[in-house]
C-alpha cells in the first residue's frame, strides 16, 4: 500500500511541473505584449518599459519561469489588474464558497446516484428501473443554466421560498447545489446501475447465495462493495465536471466563488487572476484524482497488494 501511494505521489510530480509550464506560458502565448496589457491601453512606451522591468519581463524566459514558480509556491500571483488587490486575496475569499458548493453537491449527488443505480440494478427490467433511468437521462440532458433559471422562477419569484442567489445560509445552498449536482447524480446512477448489473452475474455473487446469505446482504455487501470499485473512478472524473459546472451555476445564482471570479476576470482580461485560477483548478483536479486513486486502492485489494 505504501509502495503504491509512493508511486502515485511520484507520478504526480511531472504532471505538476508540466502544468506550471503551461500556466506560465499562458501569458506569453497570448497575442500582444504582456507589459502593454498590464500597463493599459493609454500607457506611453516609457510606462510600458517601466512595467516590463518591474515585472521582470525583460529577463530571460527561464529566469522568469523560476521566479513565477517560486512566487507561486509562496502564494504570490501578483496583483489583480481590476481591483489592484493581490490575487491571493481575491482568490482567498472566493475559495471556500466554491469548495463548499462542490463538495456538498458531490456528496448528495453520489448518495442519490448510488441509491437510484442500485435500485434500478436490482429491479432491472421493471418499472423502478425504467423510472430511475428516465430520471437519469433527463438529469443528464438538462442544461444547468436553464434549470437554474427555472428553479429561481419557481421557488424564488413565484413561491418566495428560497433566495434567488447569494451566499450565507443553508437556503442559499439548496438551488445551486441541486443544479450543480443533478448531472452528476444522473451519471452516477447510470454508471452504478451498469456496474451493479455486471457484478450481479459474477460467480462470487452466486457463491454468496449458496452460503445462504440473505438477499439484502447479497445486494448491499457482496455486490455493491464490488460495484463501488469502478464507481469511485467515476467520482473523480465527475469532480472535474463539477469544477467546470460551477462556473455556470455560480454565475446564475450570483455565488461569490471562483467560477464567477473566473468569468469576471475573463471579461476584464485580468490575466494574473486568470492565471492563478487555472493553476488552482488544475491542482484541485490533480489532488482529487490522487485521492480517488488512494480510495480505489482501499476498495480494491488487488491494487493495494501489488
Amino acid at each position: 500500500m505504501l509502495n503504491y501511494l509512493a508511486r502515485r505521489l511520484v507520478g504526480t510530480i511531472p504532471v505538476i511541473v508540466a502544468l506550471s509550464v503551461l500556466v506560465f506560458a499562458f501569458v506569453h502565448l497570448l497575442p500582444g505584449d504582456p507589459a502593454r496589457l498590464v500597463a493599459g491601453q493609454d500607457a506611453t512606451p516609457e510606462d510600458v518599459q517601466a512595467v516590463r522591468v518591474s515585472l521582470g519581463l525583460d529577463r530571460p524566459l527561464w529566469e522568469q519561469y523560476f521566479r513565477f514558480v517560486s512566487n507561486a509556491v509562496q502564494g504570490d500571483f501578483g496583483t489583480s489588474l481590476k481591483t489592484r488587490r493581490t490575487v491571493a486575496e481575491e482568490i482567498g475569499e472566493r475559495f471556500m464558497p466554491t469548495v463548499w458548493l462542490t463538495v456538498f453537491s458531490m456528496i448528495w449527488a453520489t448518495i442519490f446516484g448510488l441509491l437510484i443505480g442500485v435500485l434500478s440494478g436490482v429491479k432491472r427490467g421493471r418499472w423502478q428501473d425504467y423510472t430511475g433511468m428516465l430520471v437519469a437521462v433527463s438529469g443528464i440532458s438538462f442544461p444547468a443554466f436553464w434549470l437554474g433559471l427555472l428553479l429561481i422562477d419557481l421557488f424564488s419569484v413565484r413561491l418566495g421560498w428560497l433566495p434567488t442567489g447569494g451566499y450565507g445560509t443553508w437556503q442559499h445552498f439548496v438551488m445551486p447545489s441541486f443544479t450543480l449536482g443533478l448531472g452528476v447524480a444522473a451519471v452516477m446512477a447510470r454508471f452504478t446501475r451498469s456496474a451493479f448489473v455486471e457484478i450481479t452475474r459474477e460467480d462470487y455473487v452466486r457463491t454468496a447465495r449458496a452460503k445462504g446469505v440473505p438477499e439484502r446482504f447479497v445486494i448491499w455487501k457482496h455486490t455493491l462493495r464490488n460495484a463501488l470499485v469502478p464507481v469511485i473512478t467515476m467520482v473523480g472524473l465527475q469532480f472535474g465536471f463539477l469544477l467546470g459546472g460551477s462556473i455556470v451555476v455560480e454565475t446564475v445564482f450570483s455565488w461569490p466563488g471562483l467560477g464567477r471570479l473566473l468569468v469576471d476576470s475573463v471579461s476584464y482580461r485580468d490575466y494574473p487572476v486568470i492565471q492563478a485560477e487555472i493553476l488552482i483548478f488544475s491542482l484541485e483536479f490533480i489532488l482529487i484524482n490522487l485521492a480517488v486513486d488512494v480510495l480505489y486502492a482501499v476498495a480494491n485489494p488487488e491494487i493495494r497488494y501489488r
Binding site: 509512493a6 457463491t207 447465495r209 449458496a210 452460503k211 445462504g212 446469505v213 464490488n226 488487488e302 497488494y305
Partner: protein, 639 residues
C-alpha cells in the same frame, strides 16, 4: 434402467449433532420428476425434463453429461439457485431429510427458508475457483460469514472456526491465510478455500459442480482426494457434477447419465462402466480416452467414435492405427537450445528483480507426418514454446530450424513465406474466430494474404476445405455464432489448412470440447495427418488424449524438458519422477482400476519465476533407451 444401489460405503461417525440415526434405506435427498424451464423468445426451453434421483447419506452420486445436458441446472435447482439464473422449477419435488428429522420439499420452500438451509444443510462448490470468491473480502471473512449466519457465532468464534476449517482442508500456514485476499492464492488453494467455506457448517449434502475442471491434473487429484477424506470424516452425501468420465470412475458410488435434460442411465459405477445399457452411455464411454489403453502398441490410434442416431441406433467408426512417420526424412522442425524468459520488474522505479524462465534450453525435433506431444501443467512453458516457434514471442536465444533453415537468419520475405507453412490452432474456438465476418471470409483470408488463390479459385478452395474438415460448402456464408464449439474448431482447422501447412501447432486444441466432440476432432486431425503428411506439435495437459494421438512425447516441467521419447517408452516406462507423478494423477475412466492410495504430488505447482542471478541447473539429458532421454539433474523439487 435403474439398478438397485448397493449399501453406501461405511463412513465415519455422523457428526451432525441431533441427526437421526442414519438409516441407509431412507435417502437423504429424493428428487422426483424434476422439470426446469428457461423462458426464451421461442417459448419456454426445458433444460431438465422429469429427472428422478436419490442420494443416501455418505454416498457419492455422480451426474455426468456433456454441455447442455442439464446437469448443472439440476444441481442449481437443488440449491434453488436456478431462479437467480432465470430458470424456473415448473414441476416435481425435491425432498430433503432435514437435520431435525423432518422432510421438506425444497421445490416449495420460501426464499428465507432456503437461505437458512443453503450453506448449512446443503452446500455447493463451483467450477471456477478463480472467480467464485469475492475479491474484496478476506478469506477469513468469507468463511466466517457462513459460520456467523448459520451457527449464530460471534466474530471471534467464527474466525477461529474459519481457521479450523482451513486446517481441515489441509492448507499449510492456515493462520496466515485468514487475512489474505483471493487474488493472492492459486486456483487449487482457492478451491480448498471454497471447500472450507462450503463445509464450515457440516452440511449433510455437498453439491460439487465440476469442482476440478479448471485445475491442473496434479491439483485435481489432490482436491478429489480431499473431498473424499472430508466426506468420510463428516459422513456427508456428495452430488458430483462432471463431464469427465475419469473423475466419475475415481469418485462415484453411483452414476446418473444425463442427455438433453433427461436421465438416460443410472446405476452403480462399476456396472455402468462395464455394462452400459443406453446407446448414449455406450457412445460416451467409447469416446473417453483411457490412460493406458494403448499399452503395448507404439503407434497412435483413432478413437472408436460411436454416434447416437435417434433413440437407439449407433453408427460406428472403426479404430485404426496411425503409421505416418517417415523416419528417414530430415526433421521438419528442429528446435535447439531455445530460451524464452520474461522480465519481472518491481518497486518504485521498476527495477529488474527476476525472470520467469518460461522456456529453458529446450531442444527437440519433429519429423514429417509425426505428432510430438508437449505435455505439462500450467506454467511449465509448453504454450510459450509453441508461441516462440510460431514467432508470436521472441526468444532470448537458441535456434529454430524449419525444413533445415534457421528462421531467425532468414530474410523477411522468406520468413513470411515460411510463416504460412506453420499454422496454429488455439484452445478456445469461440475466441479465435472473428464474430463479425463469415467463416468463409475467415478461411479465405489467409488464401488471399498469401496469394494462394485468386477470384473464383478462392471460393472453390474454401468449399473444398470445409468438406475436408467435415462441414458443408454452404456453411461458408454463415457467421461463427451459428456453429457449436466442435464445428468452430473444425472451422479453425480449415483456416489453418488453407495455407497448405507442413506443421500445425495445436495448443490445447481439444481441451475445451466435450468428449464425443473431442474424439471426432482428434480423429479429424489424424485423418488429415494421414492424407497430407502433416506434422503436429500437440500441446496438451491431458495425458489420456496425448496417449492416443502422439508418436513421441516431451514432458515439460519448470521450462525444461525433463523427459522425451517415443510415446510407448515414456508412457510405459516413465523414467523421470515428475512424469510418473503426472501419470499417477490422471483419473482413469475405469472404476476397476481405481487406486485411492496411490502417491500424489504434494503442494502447489512451483513457479518458474527466479530471482536475478539464480540460474536453474541444467545438464544434458541422458539416453536410457534408444530415443528416450531423461533429465538426471535436479529440476525444481525433483533432485
Amino acid at each position: 434402467m435403474t439398478s438397485i444401489p448397493q449399501a453406501a460405503p461405511t463412513t465415519g461417525s455422523l457428526s451432525n449433532a441431533g441427526a437421526p440415526p442414519a438409516t441407509h434405506s431412507t435417502p437423504l435427498v429424493e428428487v422426483k420428476n424434476l422439470t426446469v424451464e428457461f423462458p426464451t423468445e421461442d417459448g419456454p426451453f426445458r433444460a431438465v425434463d422429469g429427472i428422478d434421483l436419490h442420494i443416501r447419506r455418505g454416498e457419492t452420486l455422480a451426474i455426468v453429461g456433456e454441455s447442455g445436458s442439464g446437469k448443472s441446472v439440476t444441481a442449481l435447482s437443488l440449491m434453488r439457485l436456478i431462479e437467480f439464473g432465470g430458470g424456473r422449477i415448473v414441476g416435481g419435488s425435491i425432498q430433503l431429510a432435514g437435520r431435525d428429522g423432518g422432510l421438506r420439499d425444497l421445490a416449495q420452500e420460501s426464499l428465507p427458508a432456503m437461505n437458512r438451509l443453503r450453506g448449512d444443510e446443503i452446500a455447493m462448490i463451483f467450477q471456477e475457483p478463480m472467480t467464485s470468491l469475492n475479491p474484496v473480502f478476506t478469506i477469513g471473512d468469507q468463511i466466517a460469514e457462513a459460520v456467523m449466519l448459520h451457527q449464530g457465532l460471534g466474530r471471534k468464534e467464527a474466525r477461529s472456526e474459519a481457521l479450523a476449517m482451513l486446517n481441515k482442508v489441509r492448507i499449510p500456514e492456515a493462520a496466515r491465510l485468514l487475512d489474505r485476499y483471493p487474488h493472492q492464492l492459486s486456483g487449487g488453494m482457492r478451491q480448498r478455500v471454497m471447500i472450507a467455506m462450503a463445509l464450515s457448517c457440516r452440511p449433510s449434502l455437498l453439491i460439487a459442480d465440476e469442482p476440478t475442471t479448471a485445475l491442473d491434473v496434479t491439483i485435481q487429484a489432490q482436491i478429489l482426494r480431499l473431498v473424499r477424506q472430508l466426506q468420510d470424516e463428516m459422513g456427508m452425501a456428495v452430488m458430483f457434477i462432471t463431464h469427465d468420465m475419469g473423475v466419475v470412475a475415481e469418485v462415484a458410488d453411483r452414476v446418473l447419465v444425463m442427455y438433453r435434460g433427461k436421465k438416460v442411465e443410472e446405476g452403480v459405477v462399476d456396472d455402468v462402466f462395464a455394462r452400459p445399457q443406453a446407446p448414449y452411455t455406450k457412445a460416451l464411454l467409447a469416446a473417453v480416452p483411457k490412460l493406458g489403453s494403448l499399452s503395448g502398441a507404439p503407434l497412435p490410434r483413432r478413437f472408436p467414435v460411436l454416434t447416437v442416431e435417434g433413440e437407439a441406433g449407433i453408427a460406428t467408426e472403426a479404430e485404426r492405427w496411425q503409421d505416418t512417420v517417415e523416419p528417414a526424412a530430415p526433421p521438419i522442425l528442429d528446435v535447439d537450445d531455445l530460451f524464452t524468459r520474461f522480465e519481472v520488474r518491481r518497486g518504485l522505479f521498476g527495477r529488474l528483480t527476476g525472470r520467469i524462465h518460461a522456456v529453458e534450453r529446450v531442444s527437440f525435433k519433429v519429423h514429417p507426418g509425426e505428432t510430438l506431444a508437449l505435455v505439462g501443467e500450467s506454467g511449465c512453458g509448453k504454450s510459450t514454446a509453441g508461441r516462440t516457434i510460431m514467432q508470436l514471442q521472441a526468444p532470448d536465444s537458441g535456434s529454430i530450424r524449419f525444413s533445415g533453415r534457421d528462421i531467425f537468419a532468414m530474410p523477411e520475405a522468406e520468413r513470411r513465406r515460411m510463416h504460412q507453412k506453420i499454422q496454429y490452432i488455439f484452445q478456445d474456438p469461440y475466441a479465435s474466430l472473428n464474430p463479425r465476418v463469415t467463416v468463409g471470409f475467415s478461411i479465405a483470408e489467409p488464401l488471399i494474404t498469401h496469394n494462394l488463390a485468386k477470384g473464383a479459385g478462392v471460393e472453390e478452395r474454401v468449399a473444398q476445405l470445409l468438406v475436408d474438415v467435415g462441414l458443408s460448402p454452404d456453411h461458408a456464408k454463415r457467421y461463427p455464432h451459428e456453429f457449436s464449439g466442435g464445428q468452430r474448431q473444425r472451422i479453425c482447422i480449415a483456416r489453418a489448412l488453407a495455407c497448405e501447412p507442413d506443421l500445425i501447432i495445436a495448443d490445447e486444441a481439444v481441451s475445451a470440447l466435450d468428449v464425443s466432440i473431442q474424439a471426432q476432432i482428434v480423429n479429424l486431425l489424424m485423418d488429415l495427418q494421414e492424407k497430407r503428411r502433416l506434422a503436429y506439435l500437440f500441446i496438451s495437459h491431458d495425458m489420456a488424449v496425448v496417449e492416443r494421438v502422439s508418436h513421441r512425447v516431451a514432458v515439460m516441467y519448470l521450462g525444461q524438458i525433463v523427459e522425451i521419447g517415443p510415446r510407448q517408452a515414456v508412457f510405459e516406462n516413465p523414467q523421470h519422477a515428475y512424469t510418473r507423478r503426472l501419470m499417477a494423477a490422471v483419473p482413469i475412466a475405469d472404476p476397476a482400476r481405481r487406486d485411492r492410495s496411490r502417491p500424489l504430488l504434494e503442494g502447489e505447482i512451483p513457479s518458474p519465476m527466479r530471482k536475478l542471478g539464480d540460474e536453474p541447473i541444467w545438464a544434458p539429458l541422458v539416453e536410457v533407451e534408444p530415443g528416450h532421454f531423461v533429465a538426471r539433474h535436479p529440476v525444481g523439487d525433483f533432485a
